[in-house]
């Protein structure tokens, strides 16, 4: 379980590193209402900060991740005009990371 989690983490970080923070996806995101964290770039930055430096909590990260409608408009604009980051796929992978992490915890607690 642990190696799987690490592999997924590595996969996500590699994907995140391609982001050039051009903010093209910010205006493309339908949930953007003034805060960067309501957009794709903000969500990706939050995942990166969490995975690399342990910034923020899982609870906060979860809120950002699950407020994405996975409509892939950001991924489309990134492919067309920027670095081609698979933004939506990365958000879904990060959701998966949280699920694996916490399901493992739950199993441990139950013996």
């Amino acid at each position: 379980m642990k190696s799987k989690l690490q592999a997924l983490e590595k996969d996500i970080i590699e994907g995140l590193r391609q982001c050039s923070h051009c903010k093209m996806c910010v205006s493309a995101c339908p949930t953007y209402e003034g805060w960067y964290t309501q957009s794709s770039m903000g969500r990706l930055a939050a995942i990166y900060a969490f995975l690399m430096y342990g910034l923020g909590s899982e609870k906060e990260l979860s809120k950002l991740l699950f407020s994405c409608s996975t409509c892939r408009r950001c991924q489309n604009i990134c492919r067309a005009m920027s670095a081609g980051v698979e933004t939506t796929d990365l958000i879904v992978k990060a959701r998966n990371l949280l699920a694996i992490k916490f399901e493992a915890k739950g199993e441990d607690a139950n013996g």
Partner: protein, 339 residues
Amino acid sequence: MDKSYKHVIPTGHVYIKESVLEKGNVFGVSADKTAWATGLDLPKKADYTVFAGCGYQLMKYADGMLASVRTAEKMGVGMEKVVGISKAFGKVGIDLAGITGRITTAGAEDIYTRVLISAINVLKKLSVDIGYMGTEEPCCGSPIYYSGFADDYINNAQKNYGLFKSMGVKKLIGVMPACTASLKNLYPQYINGYDLEVKHFIEVVADRLRESSIKPVLKKKMTIAYHDPCQISRVLNLSKLTREVISRIGGLELREPEVDQTGEWSTCCGGGGGMEVTFPELCERLAVRRVNELMATGVPVIATSCPACMMQLMKGVSKLKARVKVVDLAEILDEALPQ
């Protein structure tokens, strides 16, 4: 059990996962999956198998299910993996069986089921040899993939592939955009030697209209704006094809909103990624914004191809108290095609 689990994985998403894995549909209701096809006389074995999906036939339960999940979330019912979330719901007095009981509309009375029936009629009128899987039809699992339960999704996909094979299914026609995208794009990534031919309804219609001499014509002229569902436009890349089909319907005029709001750049209706269960207010704002964009074209009818989009757009329309009708493209096609 780690107590923080329920703060990290929203109740609604856990509910969706358990529903898909245990009940075989997104809404977690024990509904008859063949009810919609009553009287349609569909065989089990045919050239093409229609994959109806949970969306259209069970969308009528969405409001009840969403309300229950939201109440549960407010009351702090979280993930209780051992007992199952429906039991946890029962403990605090939320009766999920009641959701199915309250809804009495059936068949063509229900606006969502009607779309499915229309789609079948269209395929029959275009003489496509179709059948369906009846009670055996599984849930493709697309919602749990987007909720982040990739392992469960893969297990479910492999189980489904075995089922398709054992039933001799070779060619699938999907009506739900999300199910079609899941069967077409995601399954091959996780199943070795995946060899099912998956097509979306609109692809089959476009092919048939090109080949045959049938010309769909609407008796009464209609002007529509088309809302591209995200799975149709950006995952399946069918925006252009959809417009080709629309242009082939006589008496139907399509008015496009701004360039950056249509086709592959269509904005979100708010119905995706399980957002309705966690952020209903945000969802509603998205719906209102999208309806406003489409209404700027001044059309009386908004067409789309997805039950979730349909639900969201109708929510937006009623919120704005606008006089706009929301229909599915399959219904327009059914009306336009000669018997």
